[in-house]
């Protein structure tokens, strides 16, 4: 293992994050505050408890997931797309670095950043509603697994995209709608049977449900299914990354 290279890429990516600290952290924090003002106070006050949890507290795991998914995808996709765009990827390809080391360092940096933002959002939420985490170990596991899994998706997106438009298209047109419709702000159990069945095809449902279970001990689907689906996505994205490096897709001519 070329640990020096992993450290170099990881530090390089994290220093990029530090350069854009304001944009990286202030923006999701402001969004979270707005969600709480609108959903938690303005609308949430009129919504009864869901599964014995006040609506303000109910949306906390969903809000964290919303940012976690979006940040993981956009951080990782930008991290690998930018060297492709500027041409500096030549250095990465000509260095004595394995594909595994490249993925570990880029995905690791993207996941770290999104986890930090997730924790900040959680802390921000704590200013509005009393936080109660029933299973902190599971909460950390879901946080880390989701950050890594969706950073892998971002990495794939960054390799696939051949322009900034495509880079933004997937988070905007796919990730955000799936998160909104994935039970972030409501329980899918309150949906009519048909739409509940449709929702079960949305992968984000399982992530939000498992994460919410770690907070309140209740979820839309069982913990085992949530964990299983999260691991399934992780394996699927790993397989795609392995294929990319095996074939050199959009990296090596």
């Amino acid at each position: 293992m070329n640990f020096q290279a992993i450290r170099a890429i990881y530090s390089f990516e994290m220093s990029r994050t530090r350069r854009t600290l304001g944009q990286s952290i202030i923006s999701p924090v402001i969004s979270t505050v707005l969600y709480f003002i609108v959903f938690g106070s303005a609308i949430g006050g009129r919504i009864p408890e869901i599964d014995g949890v006040s609506y303000g507290a109910f949306i906390v795991p969903g809000l964290v997931m919303l940012s976690l998914l979006g940040q993981s995808v956009s951080n990782a996709s930008f991290g690998i797309y930018f060297p492709r765009f500027t041409g500096t990827i030549y250095e990465l390809l000509s260095a004595p670095v394995s594909y595994l080391e490249i993925v570990v360092s880029y995905v690791g940096a993207a996941a770290t950043k999104s986890i930090v933002i997730g924790v900040i959002i959680l802390a921000t939420a704590g200013l509005f509603v009393p936080l109660h985490i029933l299973h902190p170990g599971w909460m950390i596991l879901f946080l880390v697994l989701t950050a890594i899994t969706f950073s892998l998706l971002g990495f794939i997106l960054g390799i696939w995209a051949d322009g900034f438009e495509k880079l933004q298209m997937v988070p905007l047109l796919i990730i955000t709608p799936l998160t909104f419709l994935g039970g972030s702000f409501y329980s899918i159990n309150i949906l009519p049977p048909f739409w509940k069945t449709v929702s079960l095809f949305n992968p984000v449902v399982y992530l939000v449900s498992g994460f919410r279970w770690s907070f309140y001990g209740v979820g839309d689907v069982s913990l085992g299914i949530s964990l299983g689906m999260t691991l399934l996505f992780l394996v699927a994205f790993l397989a795609i990354v392995a294929w990319i490096f095996k074939t050199g897709y959009r990296i090596k001519a």
């Binding site: 450290r7 390089f12 220093s15 990029r16 500096t88 030549y90 000509s94 260095a95």
Partner: protein
Amino acid sequence: MNAIISITNLSKSYATGFQALKDVSLEIRKGEIFALLGPNGAGKTTLISTTCGIVRPTSGSVTVDGHDIIKDYRAARSLIGLVPQELTTDAFESVWNTVSFSRGLFGKSPNPAHIEKVLRDLSLWDKKDNRIMTLSGGMKRRLLIAKALSHEPKILFLDEPTAGVDVNLRRDMWALVRALRDSGVTIILTTHYIDEAEEMADRIGVINQGEIILVENKVELMHKLGRKQLTVQLHQAIEYVPESLAAYRLELMTDGTELVYRYDTRADQTGIASLLAALGKAGIDFKDLQTKQSSLEDIFVSLVREGQ
């Protein structure tokens, strides 16, 4: 001298069907400066990119100091520093950070003293904290060299190192390249400036349409293929070359006041003595003589034309 890079029957076809390299075999000797010449699209950058691991070979093999570039890529790549043709840099990063990053990428532990030496050698020390976007084109070019030297490579690839660089900086770079060679680094450079190859290289390879058409010691090449030209300046202009001088294939130039005679330096007899005697017999007086060796550029152009 031992080969540090061995390229054997290397071919590269792109997905478009374009064959950039055709069965190329080449050996680069340890400690030499090797200049790879060729017109645009000849395959120079593909050859470098394949050796460095950026492009996958279609067939053939490349070893770097005995390490196969695919099976033993870590050992092979750690010996190589690459300065690409394009000025590709992280615009928002500082000079110091980007050079330190390159060193780490190649698996070397941090060594601020070495980074400082490299930056000082390349006159970039004053700019170490500057963002790359604030540097001039020449500075960016030097920065790319600094990045390539950050991990103390044994082999340095310079792809068009002086493109767009002013005359003074070019000379500084030549001096730097010579100093690197003197310290034991093997240099492979591609260039469009033939005078650069003539000035710097120990050996020259010419590539055209994906094929190596010649590899030769520079001095030998110029000796073997070089042609000389004798210009005879006449006292009085003449209207035509007399029939008695037809065997010399003279060319009448400058309104009939100069006769140009081209001869092969390899021939036993250059024919100059007999030509001068024949001129006297024909009653043509001359006031001066001038000889000129054909340049590497002339040789290169004629080789590429022959290849086409």
